[in-house]
């Protein structure tokens, strides 16, 4: 049963992009195609674009991404613990709480240092 389920998911992943792909190919046949330089310009409410579009971004995005990475790994570690909780002895629950507490301490540290402030 298990392999058959994965076969279903596999075929689904292969077929799923085909539906939008077909929908995107139909306009190729029936839609008009009359490009000209002004039409193809970058749209900025009628202004002419200044400089390249790939601009620098705020460093805050990067800091939030770093905090996210820590929690992402935490979540991956917690899932096996959550699934097998009823098979584990009681101290495993306490260990899980200690594990989360350490990460919450990290979150509080980042909070205190202003990493969570969007300035």
């Amino acid at each position: 049963m298990q392999t058959q389920d994965w076969l279903f998911v596999g075929i689904f992943i292969v077929l799923a992009p085909l539906f939008p792909l077909i929908a995107l190919l139909i306009p190729r046949l029936i839609a008009p195609r009359k490009p000209n330089p002004i039409k193809l310009e970058t749209y900025e409410c009628g202004m002419e674009t200044v400089g390249p579009a790939w601009v620098q971004f705020k460093v805050q995005y990067y800091i939030f991404a770093l905090i996210f990475l820590v929690f992402d790994i935490e979540m991956v570690f917690l899932y096996p613990w959550a699934v097998s909780l009823n098979l584990l002895p009681f101290y495993a629950v306490v260990e899980g709480i200690i594990f989360v507490a350490i990460l919450v301490a990290g979150l509080l540290y980042a909070w205190r240092n202003g990493a969570l402030k969007w300035a």
Binding site: D5, F12, F19, L24, A31, Y43, L107, W118
Partner: protein, 403 residues
């Protein structure tokens, strides 16, 4: 007679075996057919969703909505599709062509893939994989990748800003969402969604109302819908990440967003509202599909209700709401759930249900008290008398003093 889908499947399997095909090939063809039928059904639902969305919005805004084409305007979505199909397809100068074209496909395809693991009825399961919850989280995040790719490849500053904002939003709201999904996993002792639905003799929204609410909020954020629609804030960055897309490519983003909202409704229904469960669903499996979509559309309606009632929130508030409020709250809830699950014994008993419910209510009460105290202090701080920079002298008195 009570289970037409499996009846047809059995008949087809017998027919294919009768043609002398090997059993492996029969399984492959049957699975392929299952996939095509499921995907076609979901896409049909997607076209219908355009009508639902427009009609409900109209009602929220005291309008009639589409009502000319067909009864109640039901043929309107078809007209929309034809209009999108015959629009010119523009690729702006300087766009990264490959990424630009893959993005809309990814936006719809990943949402479709999510439907492969949602149990539609007791007998029609699609795929009941044992890591269903993780699969949902992983596949759902790839849809966001489509948005980021669209924003990056468009060669447009508005689009890029929209994509940046989407990244920040997803990064912030993915954490509470995944942790909130841990609560049904703990309660059901399984990561398979079929198993989670099977175990819900009592809906998990009763056992874990806080986790359900957090999941709903983060689901709206992951959809990028109002009040979290910073990635397409019309008043600031025109249309955000899909500003350069025209015709059917824009249509793919639109369809993807609508379908994603319904998918989130179906997931919420499966995790917290008992999925296909309902009166007589066990005896008449086809009723299960009906119940699931009833619940999914209810949640979809709630999401729309939120969208058309609340104004957009600012990005600093958005980030703070997730990191300083939702994440600590849901971590506390998961730990309490785990602890209580160990202490209260087997699920299903009255004491287990009551214990979970009371614990959740206590958490809500403590949270509200903390918030109230915080805002009272904040109001006091803002309202306090502070030294004023300007001196309280009239111009005449000031001249007198300086001379």
């Amino acid at each position: 007679m009570t289970d037409p889908i499996n009846l047809i499947a059995e008949w087809l399997r017998g027919l294919l075996a009768g043609w002398g095909l090997s059993s492996g090939l029969v399984i492959f063809i049957m699975t392929l057919l299952g996939v095509v039928v499921t995907a076609a059904f979901v896409l049909l639902m997607d076209v219908f969703l355009v009508w639902v969305e427009r009609k409900v919005v109209a009602r929220f805004q005291d309008r009639l909505g589409p009502n000319r084409l067909g009864p109640f305007g039901l043929i309107q979505p078809l007209a929309d599709v034809i209009k999108l199909l015959i629009k010119e397809d523009i690729t702006p100068i300087g766009a990264d062509r490959v990424v630009y074209n893959i993005a809309p496909i990814l936006a719809l395809a990943t949402v479709l893939v999510l439907w492969s693991v949602i149990p539609l009825s007791p007998t029609v399961l699609g795929a009941d994989i044992n890591v269903g919850v993780l699969f949902i989280v992983a596949a759902g995040a790839i849809g966001t990748l489509g948005i980021i790719m669209a924003g990056w490849a468009s060669n447009n500053k508005y689009a890029l800003i929209g994509a940046f904002r989407m990244v920040a939003e997803i990064v912030a709201y993915e954490v509470p969402m995944v942790i909130a999904l841990m609560v049904p996993v703990i309660l059901a002792r399984s990561m398979s969604i079929g198993e989670i639905v099977q175990r819900q003799t009592i809906w998990y929204i009763v056992l874990a109302p806080v986790a359900a609410l957090v999941f709903l909020i983060t689901a709206i954020a992951e959809l990028g819908r109002a009040p979290f629609d910073l990635s397409e804030a019309e008043s600031e960055i025109v249309a955000g990440f899909h500003i350069e897309y025209t015709g059917m490519k824009f249509g793919m983003f639109y369809a993807g967003e609508l379908l994603h909202a319904l998918t989130m409704g179906a997931l919420f229904a499966s995790f917290f509202l008992g999925g296909w469960r309902g009166p007589f669903a066990e005896q008449v499996p086809i009723l299960g599909v009906f119940y699931l979509f009833l619940k999914a559309f209810f949640i979809y309606w709630v999401i729309m209700w939120v969208k058309y009632s609340l104004p957009r929130i600012r990005i600093d508030h958005l980030m703070e709401f997730s990191w300083k409020f939702l994440t600590p709250l849901i971590l506390a809830v998961v730990m309490i759930t785990a602890l209580l699950d160990k202490l209260l014994g087997e699920p299903g008993t009255l004491i287990y249900t009551l214990g979970m419910l009371v614990a959740n209510l206590i958490v809500v009460w403590i949270t509200l008290t903390l918030l109230r105290t915080y805002f009272r202090l904040e109001r006091k701080r803002v309202g306090e008398e502070r030294p004023v920079a300007a001196p309280d002298l009239t111009p005449a008195a000031r001249i007198e003093r300086t001379s």
